[in-house]
């Protein structure tokens, strides 16, 4: 009697709990935007924001544009400055400002050539790759010897997976640029298709013979070397190159992201946590930090996870879709939701097709056991004759 009553009570309790939780889940209205509590700072000297230091000339330029926006030379100058700032701080906010400076020409079908190059650059960073390619094609039709346009074309064509176009863009640089730029432009394309030894040798030789190469070009060449080392599966060498780059510029977010990936791939999550400690303002470093902390069971893992969710929610609120790569990485590695990760990775694959995107899609597809997603990558590998240690190892594991 006592036992059966106990059983009934337990059942009622369990059913009740389940019903209550279900009801709560069903009834919860969509989350409202969080209105953070506003406050009045007590100290006048409290610093509320860090902003770029603007010199008199820049202020004058902004003022001049505010009165009459259609001053091409000033607008192009400001857009250049904003893009340089965006790069230095890895902050896309300045790209929107560059675009605003170019507003009078932004929607023109055939704007001045300076605007075409800047527009392509900004569109590329907004992941509007086809529009960027169209701008570059238009510009190169007018100025076939425009080095910036060719380099940008090589980069964008590689991102969308049009390797013939990228190769053509690099070839067109012959005679216009030095050996280092040429070798670095061609390097990834050669290495991807199995010629990593010669690609690496050319860049190394060009680096050695270049007299005082421009710091930015040297950084580009070195990060390319690191990427080639990763393709060959030589993570130790990649780490060596990237650590040297970070000694020259500790805030190089591109090098930081590459090195974090190398460390994560080598199961060195704790090292990755140490590397990324102070870079959470950059989205693609935050996501790696969150993954590393999660894997290393770091005490701040949960906090980073929440930060990442907030960041993704903010992007979703704006209906921005340029974070698909980071989102898929995060959903796979931290939330462990392979099915959702594979959906996002496929969506990302529609837009960008870099090696990193292929590795990500494959990892998501394998975790979810999604044969169709895996096939997308294996077919791409076969079609382009891609040689990449990470992909080869993973695909080998499937067979």
């Amino acid at each position: 009697m006592g036992t059966s009553r106990k059983a009934i009570t337990l059942t009622v309790g369990a059913v009740g709990l389940a019903a209550a939780l279900t009801a709560a889940a069903l009834m919860a209205p969509p989350h409202r935007g969080q209105a953070a509590a506003a406050f009045t700072p007590s100290e006048p000297g409290r610093v509320l924001a860090r902003v770029p230091i603007r010199d008199r000339a820049e202020l004058a330029a902004r003022e001049a544009l505010a009165t009459d926006p259609a001053q091409l030379e000033i607008a192009v100058g400001l857009a250049h400055a904003d893009i340089a700032r965006a790069r230095a701080a890895s902050d896309p906010r300045y790209l929107g400002q560059a675009q605003a400076a170019l507003a009078p020409w932004w929607h023109q079908a055939a704007p001045p050539s300076d605007v075409l190059l800047l527009r392509a650059t900004i569109r590329q960073s907004l992941h509007e790759f086809p529009a960027a390619l169209a701008d570059l094609a238009q510009l190169l039709a007018q100025q076939p010897r425009n080095v910036h346009a060719r380099l940008t074309l090589a980069v964008v064509a590689t991102v969308v997976g049009d390797y013939a176009l990228a190769q053509q863009a690099c070839d067109g640089l012959q005679g216009l640029v030095g050996e280092l730029v040429l070798a670095t432009c061609r390097g990834p394309l050669e290495a991807m298709t199995g010629h990593s030894e010669s690609a690496k040798a050319r860049i190394v030789a060009a680096l050695a013979s270049a007299r005082e190469p421009n710091a930015a070009i040297a950084a580009w060449a070195n990060s390319t070397l690191a990427e080639i080392a990763v393709m060959r599966g030589d993570r130790a060498e990649a780490e060596l190159v990237l650590r040297a780059m970070l000694r020259a510029d500790a805030n190089d977010s591109y090098a930081l992201a590459l090195l974090a990936d190398v460390l994560l791939a080598s199961n060195r999550a704790a090292d990755a946590v140490a590397l990324l400690r102070d870079h959470d303002d950059v989205d693609n470093l935050l996501v790696r930090h969150a993954i590393a902390a999660h894997r290393a069971n770091a005490p701040h893992a949960l906090e980073l996870r929440e930060q990442m969710q907030t960041r993704l929610a903010a992007a979703a609120e704006r209906q921005d879709r340029i974070h698909a790569r980071e989102e898929a990485m995060y959903v796979l590695a931290v939330e462990g939701d392979a099915a959702r990760a594979v959906t996002i990775a496929l969506e990302n694959w529609q837009v960008q097709k870099e090696l990193a995107d292929a590795r990500l899609l494959l990892a998501c597809g394998q975790a979810a056991g999604d044969r169709a997603a895996i096939a997308v990558v294996t077919e791409w590998v076969t079609a382009h004759g891609i040689v990449d240690e990470t992909l080869t190892a993973a695909i080998g594991g499937v067979k």
């Binding site: 009570t9 009622v12 309790g13 009740g16 019903a19 009801a23 009834m27 919860a28 209205p29 935007g33 209105a35 506003a38 009045t40 100290e43 006048p44 000297g45 610093v47 509320l48 924001a49 860090r50 902003v51 230091i53 603007r54 010199d55 000339a57 004058a60 330029a61 030379e73 192009v76 100058g77 250049h80 400055a81 893009i83 340089a84 965006a86 790069r87 896309p92 906010r93 790209l95 929107g96 400002q97 932004w106 650059t121 590329q124 960073s125 907004l126 910036h148 380099l151 940008t152 980069v155 930015a216 990060s223 977010s253 992201a257 303002d281 950059v282 693609n284 903010a314 609120e317 209906q319």
Partner: protein, 369 residues
């Protein structure tokens, strides 16, 4: 340096930087976002309150806040630019034109969002007509940042503004009864003070006073009857105050109501420790009156249309009851099961003490902060 010379110098210096920007721009801080939040603040729907929030970084670009050019915007710098900020916002943001609304701006404040500090301009909106559709003409910041987005939120609706334009948000969904039921359930579920109040009353229900001593209840039925009385009394009480304040018969300042609700939790918890009042249904009734006032302020904030108040009122109340019932169903059988154990005693005394302290802190917070 002249503008022209600056541009020339930049041209050379930046050419290479731009070039190498190209392969390396995938990273992202947050892009520029502005927020306009509005909610109904009066029963007739003609008074709204809300705020406009703009990133201080953006305002620096538009209005040059960092006057000492040291790369830091301080509170003093922001404050001295307050008239300029207000003027900028007032010129570029028109709210509720079609309802003939006028804006009263309040003192500038600061809010910390996930991507930094925002200048917050609280505002009151007085409208000649209660807006059933709120028009917003939003032209902030697009001229300095083409990727700027305005997020305009009215009640449960949010619109994204992508370029200078006029948008209209409808009051639509908030007048349907089911949505008010959901609001009611949701309010109970996230209203930790209501939940704790209820739990404090339910906790001792698995014991019953016989002659002079408290004894574990014999059957779940007895305990259920006791809880039923408590919940009914609570429901009756808060329904009364909810109705009279929602239809405008009585109105109580939020600060008093919220503080009193916190104190009611203290009282309910204290009663578990000292057993001052045996008839907990009476406690539930008297203190429940306070909670009704709290519910009504939530209901008003969701934009209750005065002319059709009955449906929403009923819906919201039903939602509150459903939410309550779910809590009871989930907890009572478990309490009944453990009523003879040490765990229960710890829960009753320790839990009640903890709740009392916590609620006392809320009362302090709600009154003083």
């Amino acid at each position: 340096m002249s503008v022209r010379a600056w541009v020339k110098q930049l041209g050379v210096a930046v050419a290479l930087a731009t070039l190498l920007t190209l392969p390396r721009l995938a990273a992202a801080h947050s892009p520029s976002t502005g927020r306009v939040t509005l909610e109904v603040d009066s029963r007739d729907g003609r008074e709204l309150r809300g705020s406009v929030q703009l990133a201080i970084r953006d305002l620096d670009t538009a209005l040059w806040l960092d006057r000492d050019q040291n790369g830091d915007v301080t509170w003093a710098e922001l404050q001295s630019a307050e008239p300029a900020v207000r003027n900028y916002v007032a010129q570029r943001l028109q709210l509720g034109e079609s309802s003939r609304c006028s804006v009263t701006w309040q003192a500038l404040r600061v809010a910390t969002l996930n991507d930094g500090n925002y200048a917050t301009l609280p505002l009151l909106l007085h409208c000649a007509l209660a807006p059933t559709e709120l028009t917003v003409r939003y032209r902030l910041l697009f001229d300095i940042d083409a990727q700027h987005r305005g997020l305009v939120q009215w009640n449960t609706q949010t619109a994204i503004v992508r370029s200078p334009e006029l948008i209209a948000l409808s009051a639509g969904q908030s007048s349907s009864v089911p949505s008010f039921i959901r609001e009611g359930v949701w309010h109970i579920w996230i209203g930790y003070d209501h939940i704790l109040f209820l739990l404090c009353l339910i906790l001792p229900a698995v014991y019953q006073r016989r002659t002079a001593r408290w004894q574990p209840a014999d059957s779940l039925g007895d305990a259920t009857r006791e809880v039923f009385e408590i919940v009914t009394a609570f429901t009756l009480a808060h329904s009364i105050t909810l109705v009279i304040s929602a239809i405008g018969l009585v109105s109580m300042p939020t600060r008093y109501v919220e503080t009193a609700i916190a104190l009611s939790v203290v009282a309910a918890a204290a009663n578990n420790l000292w057993r001052a009042v045996d008839a907990r249904w009476a406690v539930a009734f008297v203190l429940g009156l306070l909670h009704g006032f709290g519910f009504s302020s939530v209901l008003l904030a969701t934009g209750l249309p005065a002319q059709h108040a009955v449906g929403p009122l009923l819906g919201f109340n039903i939602g509150v009851e459903l939410g309550q019932a779910a809590i009871v169903v989930a907890t009572l059988p478990l309490l009944f099961l453990i009523r003879r154990t040490l765990v229960y005693q710890v829960l009753l005394r320790g839990g009640s003490a903890l709740v009392a302290v916590l609620a006392l802190f809320w009362a302090y917070q709600r009154w003083c902060l």
